[in-house]
């Protein structure tokens, strides 16, 4: 006996909510980044669960692409954080408000 699809989707929703929470409440940009990875993974879980229940491989292929985008995003984002830190000596999102109107 396997757990129903709805359980996987529920777990995915909870993980996504935790990721959104992290982006909203944390002030360290690196931790905000990790919360974004958490959200991406929550969606990946949905994709894999739905692929299994529909019997089509498409969901798993999309997960492959999501991972690629996450890797590219992490590389560029961390490089941005690095150069921001070099200029401002901080990773606190509240102090990095130059672009805020």
């Amino acid at each position: 006996m396997t757990p129903p699809l709805a359980w996987y989707l529920g777990l995915s929703a909870v993980l996504f909510a935790i990721g959104v929470l992290g982006v909203l409440i944390r002030r360290n940009v690196i931790v905000i980044f990790m919360a974004i990875e958490l959200m991406l993974n929550a969606v990946n879980l949905s994709f894999v669960a739905l692929a299994r229940s529909s019997g089509s491989m498409d969901g798993q292929v999309i997960v492959f692409f999501v991972m690629t985008v996450a890797a590219a995003e992490a590389a560029v984002g961390l490089a941005i954080i690095l150069s921001m830190f070099r200029n401002r000596e901080t990773t606190n999102a509240d102090e990095l408000a130059t672009l805020r109107w």
Binding site: R26, R52, I80
Partner: protein
């Protein structure tokens, strides 16, 4: 996967995901993220997605989180005094997050989710995924290589002094 095992692993996953979000030390957050990703890989294995599970461990836990840890160590980030936003925002965000989770779970309880049929033979194996990737999804696959190239060049250009 046994439903009891599912619930146990789900509880562990949610706990470690919460640790990522609330722990004040970024290094501990990153370590909790590794745990979360590995637990998700176990779920993927239970869902007949072997290749995705191994990619999850190798690419995500192995490469991306190591990149995070590397940057944390490089910047020498310590435990922060003001890790969180103001109490009002934290309260609102927590309430909103709980409300969102409750909403989705309630909606799922009411939704008529079709029973999972037995997947076709070879489902989730590398050969099946590769066949999709190199036929139907060939153009997106080639585009990701351009995306990665742009990301590499961008990262080097940004991080260079």
């Amino acid at each position: 996967m046994n439903p009891l095992l599912f619930l146990l692993l789900a509880a562990l996953t949610v706990a470690s995901a919460l640790t990522v979000v609330v722990h004040r030390n970024p290094v501990r957050s990153a370590c909790a993220l590794v745990l979360t990703l590995c637990l998700l890989a176990v779920f993927f294995l239970g869902l007949d997605a072997q290749l995705v599970a191994f990619l999850q461990v190798i690419v995500y836990a192995g490469a991306i989180v190591v990149l995070f840890l590397f940057v944390i160590m490089l910047l020498n980030l310590q435990v922060e005094a003001r890790a969180m936003a103001g109490a009002l925002l934290v309260g609102t965000a927590t309430a909103g997050g709980v409300a969102l989770a409750v909403l989705v779970v309630t909606a799922l309880r009411r939704a008529a989710v079709p029973a999972a049929a037995n997947p076709p033979a070879g489902f989730g194996e590398t050969a099946a995924l590769a066949r999709q990737l190199f036929t139907v999804y060939l153009l997106p696959f080639e585009l990701t290589s351009i995306l990665l190239l742009v990301a590499i060049v961008g990262a080097v250009a940004l991080a260079k002094k």
